[in-house]
């Protein structure tokens, strides 16, 4: 196995062909582990403080099912289309890859648009970061996720430009695969925000 790892392996998908790529992908998984720890601290802060609403609104008064569901479905579908992009890449279909990446970007942009509208709506209702411990920790947790999605959109645009310039090579394929891991991971985090912040907030 150790010897095989050094070879240029034709039987593997493009993104795994070189040892450098394989190590990059493994390294990115390690990074995602660190991201889990980062979000865990923000979840812990939020869950400890979310009933400390002071004179501001409570989670139940603030959250609206419809808006949250739209954001959830947009991000979930974008994770699905991002998976389809990698699927097309593995069939060596450049047009399919680019199409699904673009759809993913549009859905991601839709998600961010709804999230910003949601935040603006809260602020207009007097629910700002300074209002209560609940809202401080809410905006930090959900905002950190939103910042990740925004970064992912910029990153994916750069990767698309590079594919257009260089075509599908073991190197660009590896970059697509890694940005896809990042994108799916953002949906994993959102599943817990949906569950522990929004649904829990509407129940308690």
């Amino acid at each position: 196995m150790a010897e095989a790892a050094h070879r240029y392996d034709e039987t593997m998908p493009l993104e795994y062909r070189t040892q450098e790529s394989r190590l990059n992908i493994l390294g990115f998984w390690i990074f995602l582990g660190a991201e889990v720890a980062l979000f865990a601290t923000l979840f812990a802060t939020y869950l400890v403080l979310f009933q400390r609403t002071g004179s501001g609104p409570t989670a139940k008064e603030l959250f609206e099912v419809k808006d949250v569901l739209i954001e959830t479905l947009l991000l979930l579908t974008s994770s699905f289309t991002c998976g389809l992009a990698v699927f097309e890449m593995r069939r060596n279909r450049l047009s399919g890859l680019l199409t699904w990446l673009l759809v993913t970007l549009l859905l991601g942009a839709g998600f961010i648009t709804f999230e910003i509208r949601e935040f603006i709506h809260y602020v207009h209702e007097g629910a700002t970061m300074q209002t209560s411990a609940f809202l401080s920790s809410f905006f930090v947790l959900v905002g950190t996720h939103g910042a990740h999605v925004s970064l992912g959109i910029g990153w994916m645009i750069l990767i698309i430009i590079q594919i257009l310039q260089r075509g599908l090579t073991p190197r660009t394929a590896r970059k697509v695969f890694i940005v896809s891991l990042y994108w799916h991971f953002l949906d994993v985090v959102w599943i817990f925000i949906f569950t522990l912040v929004y649904l829990t907030g509407m129940v308690i």
């Binding site: 995602l32 582990g33 400890v48 649904l199």
Partner: protein, 99 residues
């Protein structure tokens, strides 16, 4: 070693993963808002549904177990989730005595 996907012509795995994710999302929504269960039961159930959906993403969309590093990747993510649970549950438990 399971990284070879050249022969698949239709993304069944992704479609099944997507449909199950949708079902789990709406199931969680229903349990939370319409089931009429106790608060404790609701939170227990929706957390389990979230863990299942997160696993679907990791296994069906992110191909966590493929390649030579599949085992390391899986252990890495399992350990990070262990740390997450310790941090979150530990914080809530500790602060339940203070606040």
């Amino acid at each position: 070693m399971g990284a070879n996907h050249h022969h698949e012509t239709f993304p069944w795995k992704h479609i099944v993963g997507f449909i199950f994710s949708l079902l789990l999302t709406f199931a969680a929504l229903w349990v939370a808002l319409s089931s009429g269960l106790s608060t404790g039961a609701i939170i227990g159930i929706i957390v389990i549904l979230a863990v299942i959906q997160a696993s679907l993403q990791l296994f069906m969309f992110m191909h966590m177990t493929e390649s030579d590093s599949g085992k390391i990747q899986t252990i890495n993510m399992a350990y990070s989730f262990f740390i997450a649970v310790v941090v979150v549950v530990g914080s809530i438990w500790t602060m339940s005595f203070v606040l």
